[in-house]
Structure formats: C-alpha cells, structure tokens
C-alpha cells in the first residue's frame, strides 16, 4: 500500500544553517508517529516544509502517492495534509463555533456563497459543533476565542484542523504550555480519532511519546538521527546522549 | 541634447537629496519599530517654519537657522514620541496610520492659523542664489549646496552607524529587536534618540526645501506622498536603499516634468506601483 505521506531527500538551509539535511521517511496510513529532538533541531521547520509554508531547496514530498512538492499550502490542505501550530494561530475575535464552521464551509465549498445567511448551512454548523463536542470544548463555543483558557485554545487548534477532514494530521507540540496533568487527557482525545487518520506529532514529554506513538523519529541538527519503535528508541545510546540525557540533567 | 540631460540629472540629483533628508528618518523608524509615522513630514514643515520665522522676524542669517530647525524638529518629535506614539508600536498599521495622519491634520491647521495659507517668502543671501557656468552649462549654487549638505549628512550617518557604539546598538535594534533587548540594549531609549535624529533631519530637509519647492501650510501632506514612495521603494530600515530610491525618484520626477510635462505625475505613480508589485519589500529591503 502507498504511504499516506512520504518525504525523500528534503533539504533546506537558512543562510549557512542547515535546518533540514537530506530527510527521508514514510508514514503508513493510520500510523501514530512522533517526531522528537532538542530545541532548534528543525522540527517545526520540517512541518513547514511538508505543508508548503516554506519551500525546500531540494527533495520530494508525496501525499498518498501524489507529488505535492511544489503545490501551494492551501491546495495540500484540500488534499488532506493539515497541520496545527506550536504557537496558537487562531481567529481571536471569532468564537470557536464560527471558526470551525468557517473551516467546514471552506472544505464544502460553501464559503463562496455570499447571498445566504450562515444559519442556512445547518449541516456545516452541526458538523462543526460535533467536532467541538468531540474535543470537549462545545460548552465554551459561543465565547470569543481570545477569552478562552489556554488549554481550550490548544484544543481549538486541533478542532480547526479536523474540520478540514484531514488524511494526514501534523501536530506541532499540541500540548505545548498545557499543564502535565491535562496533556495526558489531550492525547487521549487525539488517540481516539479515527484509525484511518495518519498522525505525525512533535512532543517533548517522553512519557506521552512512549505511550501514544507506535514509531518515533529523532531529529538532531536538521538530520534524522534514528527511527524506530518506542522500545528501540528508549534503548538507544545516542538518543540518551543527545536527548534523554540532557533532559535527565535538566 | 546633452545640455538638458546634464541639467536634468543635476537638478534631479539635488531634488533627490532633498527627498533623502526628508525620508531617511521615517525609513529608520519603520525598520526599527515597525511604526508607520505619516506625521514625519510635519516635522519637516516645522523646520521650514522655524527657518522662515528666524529669517523674516529676527533677521538671522540663513545658515544659522539650519541647526535651530534641526533641533526644534527633533525636540518636538521626541515629546510626541514619548507621550503619544510609543504607545502604538504594537498596534496595527491602520491604527498607526490614522493616529499619525491625525497629527498631520492638526499640524496643517496650526500652520495655517499661525502663518496663513500663502507660500512663505524667504530671501536667501545672494551668493547662494546665483549659478555658475561650467562648459556652457548653468549649475545653480544652491543645488550644489544642497548636494554637499546631504552628502555630508549621509557620510556622517553611515559613519556613525558603522563605527560608533550607538550605531551598533541602532543596527542591532533594527535587525532584531527582541535579541537586542535580550542583550541588555535599552531599545526604548535608542529608539527615542533615533526618532529625534530622523525628525531633526526632516526639519533640516524642510528648511532646505523652501528655496527649491516652496513652503506652505500643506507641506506636511504634499511631501508625505513623495516620502512614502521613497520609503516603500527603498525598503524600510535601509539607509542605502532610501538614498538610492530618493535619487531615482528625484531624477525621474525632474526628467518627467522636463520631457513629458503632461503625464509626468502619471508616470511617477506607474513607476511606483510597478516597482512595488515587482518588489513589495522595496528595492533594497531585506524582509
């Protein structure tokens, strides 16, 4: 079966700094794959490259077999490659219901309709509401986004992504800034999403990574150091050195 | 044919120098604080009126008024910066535009109230109003003076930025404000000083402009458009870019008025829109 997403020989430099050096990997459909690495390793940059927000200097990106390397970001989204942001990137003065409805309408092609009232798109609105319910933020969905608690905003990040009906979901530290007690719950919600959905997530908390990932990629200095199952990664000397070791001291 | 070409280039370059003095401060404030200061030319106008008043009311010699114009514009600008502008460094472009255009409107009304709405008459010393004949070509002395002053200012500016501690801090603040703060540089203070310096140069430009383009109460708005063109083409925060854009605009404007007077204004805007579409961050912009 073709991989849900594959990258081959991705390269990117910022000036003399190599942020992506010959990165290749494949994500089979339905996999929960974690990307770990120290701060500044180039993890966010890799997501930017995969989604087309930054153009790679070289390499090839395939989505379900289709070459998307030169495709603009919004078209990749429509083909099912969707991301969330490490730093909240939301619509401050819209409420969550409006924000998610907006995303649903864009997907369904209803956003071009300027002559009907929004309320006539009942199906889209109900779908948006269901997504908010599934992420347990429906009870605040009539409040402006900027008034929500930080953890609720993190969930809204994911809700927006889900509204596009992704095939591959790239989560950039979904639990960043969320208290440790709550991040487990957040990942339980994420883990409960459809098994058809391929999930690639960046996370610093190794407990969470080992619990939810079926495979782990380790990125150091813009290069893939290693990939393997949680057990293999936990046992690897080099990972201990560059990553776990440092975390252990700190 | 050669004669007009040299004359046009000479006048255009001198005009460009004037635009450079008027624009360079705005370019730096945009680059450093991301602050769109549409009131910049109001400080230029202030300098102009200081010169006019000192000459006509108090009989000062023209040259002696120039430093005063510089200082007056710098002082007033820094007061406004401290009490009003700096609260808006984090606001959107639109709020900044509106706030500062409000200041422009007020400055225009104050100028009209104080000095009337006519062109301000100034008598400059005769040695500076003449022209010299070189190779069958007339060169205005005043324009040469303008070019010398502007080039001197540029040399001092570039030198100060490159070789002094203050300059290094300014560059750091323009490059990356967060990092500069992290290094313990007092960005607020640096910025206030830079703002004053830039406005002072505009004040100097305003004084020097009287002889070339005249001065009236609407100066703050009329020249704003030219300054905006220079800044957006030059790329914000770039002194070299501002210089080049000012020369480009000065020469094109004079050439347009000389060769195709009917459509010259039209051509300037076509040039601006075309260049901006080609390079929205300006010809020499980095971001």
């Amino acid at each position: 079966m073709t991989a849900a997403l594959s990258a081959k020989g991705i390269n990117k430099r910022f000036g003399s700094l190599v942020v992506a050096g010959d990165i290749s990997f494949e994500l089979p459909v339905g996999e929960r794959c974690a990307l770990i690495g120290p701060n500044g390793a180039g993890k966010t940059t890799l997501i930017n490259l995969l989604t087309g927000m930054i153009e790679p200097d070289g390499g090839e990106i395939r989505l379900g077999g289709e070459d998307v390397t030169r495709m603009p970001p919004q078209q990749r989204v429509r083909r099912g490659l969707v991301r969330t942001f490490q730093i909240n990137s939301l619509f401050p003065r819209l409420n969550p219901l409006e924000a998610v409805t907006l995303a649903v309408c864009e997907r369904r092609g209803e956003s071009r309709d300027f002559l009907s009232r929004l309320a006539t798109k009942r199906e889209a609105i109900e779908e948006a509401h269901d997504i908010l319910k599934s992420l347990r933020i429906a009870h605040v969905c009539y409040r402006e986004t900027r008034e929500l608690a930080y953890g609720q905003q993190r969930l809204l990040e994911i809700a927006l992504a889900l509204a596009t009906k992704p095939k591959v979901l790239l989560l950039d530290e979904p639990a960043a800034g969320v208290p440790k007690e709550d991040s487990g719950e957040l990942f339980t919600v994420i883990d409960g999403l459809s098994r058809e959905l391929t999930i690639f997530f960046i996370e610093h908390d190794m407990d969470v990574v080992f619990r939810f990932a079926s495979r782990i990629l380790v990125l150091v200095g813009g290069r893939l150091l290693l990939e393997g199952t949680p057990a293999e990664i936990a046992a690897d000397e080099r990972v201990r050195e560059v990553y776990l070791g440092k975390a252990g001291h700190g | 044919m050669i004669g007009p070409v040299i004359g046009v280039l000479y006048d255009g370059f001198a005009y460009g120098m004037l635009l450079f003095l008027l624009s360079v401060g705005m370019s730096v404030t945009l680059g450093m604080m991301n602050f769109v200061n549409l009131a910049h030319c109001a400080f230029g106008m202030l300098g102009g009126f200081v010169t006019v008043t000192l000459i006509n009311k108090f009989g000062w010699p023209f040259l002696a008024t120039l430093p005063v114009a510089f200082l007056a514009a710098a002082a007033v600008s820094v007061v406004l910066e401290r009490i009003l502008f700096r609260r808006f460094y984090r606001s959107g472009d639109l709020d900044q535009c509106l706030l500062t255009i409000g200041v422009v409107f007020m400055s225009i009304a104050i100028a009209a109230y104080t000095f009337g709405t006519e062109q301000q008459p100034v008598r400059l010393p005769s040695w500076i109003r003449g022209s010299v004949l070189i190779g069958g070509q007339n060169f205005g002395v005043y324009r040469a003076f303008l070019i010398v002053v502007a080039l001197a200012v540029t040399a001092v500016l570039v030198g100060a930025l490159e070789y002094t501690r203050f300059g290094a801090r300014v560059r750091a603040a323009v490059d990356n404000q967060r990092m500069a703060r992290g290094l313990g540089i007092n960005v607020d203070w640096i910025f206030a000083l830079t703002f004053a310096l830039g406005s002072g140069l505009a004040g100097l430009g305003g004084s020097l402009a009287i002889e070339v383009v005249g001065l009236d109460h609407s100066f703050a708005l009329t020249y704003l458009i030219y300054v905006l063109i220079v800044v957006s083409l030059g790329g914000m925060g770039s002194i070299g870019g501002t210089f080049a854009a000012a020369v480009l605009l000065g020469v094109s404007d004079i050439a347009g008025k000389y060769y195709v007077p009917q459509v010259s204004a039209f051509l300037i805007y076509v040039l601006m829109v075309g260049l901006l579409m080609w390079r929205p961050i300006g010809l020499f912009g980095k971001r």
Binding site: R78, C105, R112, D113, L160 | F266
Partner: protein
Amino acid sequence: MSLATPADIGPTEFLAARARWRPVEIVFWLAAITPYFIAADYLQLAGQILITGLFALSLDLILGYAGIVSLGHAAFFGLGAYATGIASKHGWGEPLTGLLIGGLVAGVVGFGASFIVARFRGLALIMITLGLDQIVAEAANSMGWLTGGADGLQGVKTWPILGLFRFDLYGVTAYWYALIVTFLFFLLVRRMVNSPFGLSLQGIRENSTRMLAIGARNHAHVRTVFTIAAFIAGVAGALLTETTETVSLETLSFQRSADVLVMLILGGVGQLYGGLVGALIYMVARDQFSDINPQYWYFWIGLLLVAVVVFLPNGIVGGVKKLGGLLGRRGT
C-alpha cells in the same frame, strides 16, 4: 448574546440569532426618514450624507470585514461618477441604468485591480492602492476631451426617475432616491457579512495565514469582495453625479479617499453602521463649521482621529455598543 449558554440554544439557532434585526437598527432606519418631516431645509445635505455613507459602507466591506487597508478607494467612487456623467452628457440620462453603468465600470476596474490587491499586504498594499488611485486621477486629468479635465464635466442631465419623479431644486427627490438606493445596498452588504462568505472574510482579517492552513481560498475571496466593494463605490459615485449633475476631479482625489477612511474610523470599522454614522457626524459637523476657515476644520478632524484611535478603538458605534452592553448587564 453573552447571556446565552450552550445549554439553552442550539448552534444553528445561536448563529441565526446573531444575524437577526435588532430594534435599534429599525430605529436607525426610521430616523433616516425623519429629515423629510422635520428638517426640510437640510434634505440636500441629508442626500449627500447618504451617498457618502454608502461609499463608506463599501470601504467597510473591504477594510472592516476583510482587513484590506485601501488609501485609494476614491478611484472607484470617481470612476462611477465619471462613467455615469459621461453617459449622461452623451444623451443617456436615465438614472437607474445610470447607476448600473457607474457600478459596472467601477466593478470591472475593481476586478482588474483585485488581482493585484489580493497579492499584497501591509505598507506595500497601502502604497499600491494609493498609487492606483493617483494613476486614475492623473489619467482623468489629462484626458480633458473626455472628462472636462480640471473644469469638471459639464452638461450632465439626469432624467426623471422612472419617467415620473423629477429632480427638484430642494433635493427632495434626490434625498428619497439616495435613501432607497443606499438602503437596498445596505441590505445586500448586511446579508453578505452574515453569510458564509462574510465569515471567511473575517477569517482573512483575523488571521490570513491560518486561513491558508485550513485550505481557504483567500485570493478568490479577496477578489470577490474587492470587486463588489468597487461596484458599490461606483454606484455611490453615480448617485452623486445624478443628484448634483456635475463631476469634478475631486471625486477621484486622495483627499476623498482619506476623508472616507476618517469617517469610517470615526463611526467604527467592521460594525456595519460605522460608515453611515461616521458620514453623518463628519458631514453635519463640517456643515455647522462651514463658516470657519476649512483649514482650521482639519485641526478638529485631526484631534478627533487621535482621540478615536486612543480612546475608542471600535469607533463611535463600537463605543455605543459597549455602553449598551454595560448598561444591559447592570439591568439584569
């Protein structure tokens, strides 16, 4: 709105309720017809205010909803004004089709410009819109054979509306005509901002990068809204031509672009009524102070602008809404 909790109202009903007509809106439009009964001397002014209000409304559509800052919106107002005027001068003075002519010419040019506008933002966009307006203005200035140049377009005659209602000296017909046209376009704009499209525009205003990350068609949306706004601005310009029977270069000027922006900011950006309220206050004030030197008038406008930016970030309409909200909360 803040009272509703998710328990007592479904999501669709919640969104439907937000778009419903409020009593204060009905009061507003009823108030718009009172000049006819109580201020007959001011009907001329009232007509002008409505036309300018419509123009400001079209700017609100792009600025307040899609977040596109334009310093050159007068280009479309002036294009509409000239198109209708030129048609009338050459023998076609029928007012309703005249509006259509003005709107279409402005809309077609706006559609062309929208491809440029969609690609830029920030200072570059402000300068490009300003430049495009200046290009149109300079073109009109140099094409004196068509536009009358600096003397303005002479010889415009508007026929009676539907062959029945003649434009009179007191501006009665003009007032009703402007009121009805403005109201109809207001209905259109109100529907638009409450549509799925309007929601997408607000998304672009709030965070255009995030819009791309959810697969939104930002460029297409911007092109659509810019074209529609240009069309409406053109209709406003056409209204001015038909009711005053002259067109001057001032309709295209930077001054007009800046004035309409000031009015909109005063009234409140993205509040739907901001343009109308701003036009009302601005023009009534200017009328009241018309005997003082117009240069001095700018002092107060400038002060007002600074005050609004500092104290009333959402303009007068926003301020009133907030006040209403505070009072309402205290009442319950």
